[in-house]
Amino acid sequence: MSWRGILIYAENYSGRVNSSAFELLGKANELKIRIDGEVSAITLAREDVDVVVQQLISYGADRVVVYKVSSDEELANQLIHRDAIVDTVNMFKPKLVLISATPWGRSLGPRVAAKLGTGITADCLDIYVDEQGDIVQVRPAFTGNIIAHIKTLTNPVITTIRPKVFPIPRPDPSKRGEVVVKNIEELNLSNDARNIKVLGVAKVKEVKLPDVQIIVSVGRGLRGREDIEIFKEFAKMLGGELGCSKPLVDMGWCEKDRQVGFSGNIVRPRIYIACGISGAPQHIAGMKDSEYVIAINIDETAPISKYSDLLIVGNMYEIIEKAIKKISEVKKDMLTT
């Protein structure tokens, strides 16, 4: 049997399919024209199997393979997901396997690749088929400074795709597809999977920064921990969220979930407002793809200016406090009239 078609892995460790799976289905259907075969989806589920299947088919899967697990602990055990993906790959021999480059996917993907002895390319921003008919994966390296185009010589080609790069396609509720439901007990689970015990959720993230459309970030220009509230208030006013640069996390002033940069969150919001952030390479790697960047900085020559659409030179406290005042006056006027 030759390697054909595309398999997408729909991430589900919590009982809810991550919407990035729909982005993968959209991209897979676009690539399908150049890669012969069906678009299959593989996922694990504890309950609501029919709902999950219907969802994946409507977003573009021609075939869905679901492995039923019996507990939340099994659902959150990554190595059970690895065994399930490997089982599906052996069943259908897909040419290409797409996995979302979430922390979960970036941890799971290399396990699958090493188990199958094939190549994997991480955190891709694009994937295409070239004139020779080869799959080419496009990814950043060197903290976002280099973009590399990579081919895989073995089968299947495994790629993790950065979430929010490809749009979610419009679902088609009338679409039909083939469904394969398997019980996880049918698989001969590997020993290593039994050596992980999922104890549960330690903490739900307060904010998921990559999903936020308006981010107001603060950096080293901040004078004191309590001043964060000023910028948080401004972010809330705009319907956005507070972000920060790495030094604030290192000092313990801001939680890691709000960190923008290579070792924190890579974001591409509609509007990114950088207050008192000079623009270290590791920060730029996390925000350079934002749609519109406003930098507020006392230093006109700060590196961030090269990645900004608007640079306001001045004291970030004065500018933000004045802006808060003006915006709340306008809001008050609107309430009274």
Partner: protein
């Protein structure tokens, strides 16, 4: 407890210069240093050793001049350092690299009895893949946890960690031996881990320390040498280019006028009414 820390010598990303034409880095522009994420793995390994006793061994696959970073690791409290270096290792992608490292761990195990815990940074600042930790675990048939933000507790046969799954942090209990790829900031038993600044006396001691050099043939009794280096690598970079050339020219506004412009832009973008 026998601990292995996997360390990658990487260029200092804040100093390195890029060849804009070729899309590569100018290797002479920045010295190699320990990948910043790996510093946390070293520090926590030393803390675990202090708690439970045992040994800490660093393993690195790098060209011969990577030896300097292994001396740096020794100055930070590591007992023994092994440099895997050979032309046959060159050109390795993450699958071949992780295989080579896994086989070196296997070989080390034949000398010291067994390896209980393998630590590494979650990713490197040059490759950015985060593949090597999970792939090493796969080659050895061990469980692993990546993006670990807290090593909550550890005993002689198990470790409890908190790991970032994306939406939430999950708590996992892993049976040893296992692989842990650490994030930063990192906590160990409730306290923040800070990589130490080596003392001068430790730096001097590390200068005289013996670094074990292992080549491909040396691993041939435990490994399939055709899986090393470029030959064992299924991926190929077909082209690369510098990504940061398209810098913007911002509109520059000073002082109070900036406040008005900020509000004007936010209105234009539909953020404010």
């Amino acid at each position: 407890m026998n601990i292995v820390v996997l360390v990658k010598p990487t260029p200092d990303i804040t100093k390195v210069k890029f060849d804009i034409e070729k899309g590569t880095i100018d290797r002479s522009s920045a010295e190699l240093e320990i990948n910043p994420f790996d510093l946390y793995a070293i520090e926590v390994a030393v803390k675990i050793k202090n708690l439970l006793g045992g040994t800490v061994t660093t393993i690195s696959m790098a060209p011969p001049h990577g030896e300097k970073t292994l001396r740096d690791a020794i100055s930070r409290g590591v007992d023994k350092a092994i440099l895997l270096t050979d032309r046959k290792f060159a050109g390795a992608d993450t699958l071949a690299t992780s295989y080579t490292l896994a086989m070196a761990i296997k070989k080390l195990g034949t000398f010291i009895g067994k390896v209980d815990l393998i630590l590494c940074g979650e990713k490197s600042v040059d490759g950015d893949t985060a593949h090597v930790g999970p792939e090493v675990a796969e080659h050895l048939g061990l469980p692993h946890a990546s993006f670990v933000t807290h090593i909550v507790d550890i005993s002689s046969d198990r470790v409890v960690v908190e790991t970032d799954y994306g939406d939430s942090y999950y708590q996992l209990e892993l049976k040893l031996p296992t692989v842990i790829a650490v994030s930063r900031p990192l906590m160990f038993r409730g306290a923040l881990v800070e990589p130490r600044v080596p003392r001068l006396s430790d730096i001097l001691k590390a200068r005289r320390a013996k670094i074990d050099i292992w080549n491909a043939d040396y691993l041939s009794d435990v490994a399939n040498i055709s899986r090393f280096g470029l030959v064992g690598s299924p991926t190929r970079v077909v082209k690369a280019f510098y990504a940061l050339t398209t810098t913007k020219t911002p509109m520059v506004i000073k002082g109070d006028e900036g406040v008005d412009m900020l509000i004007k832009i936010l209105k234009e973008k539909g953020v404010l009414r």
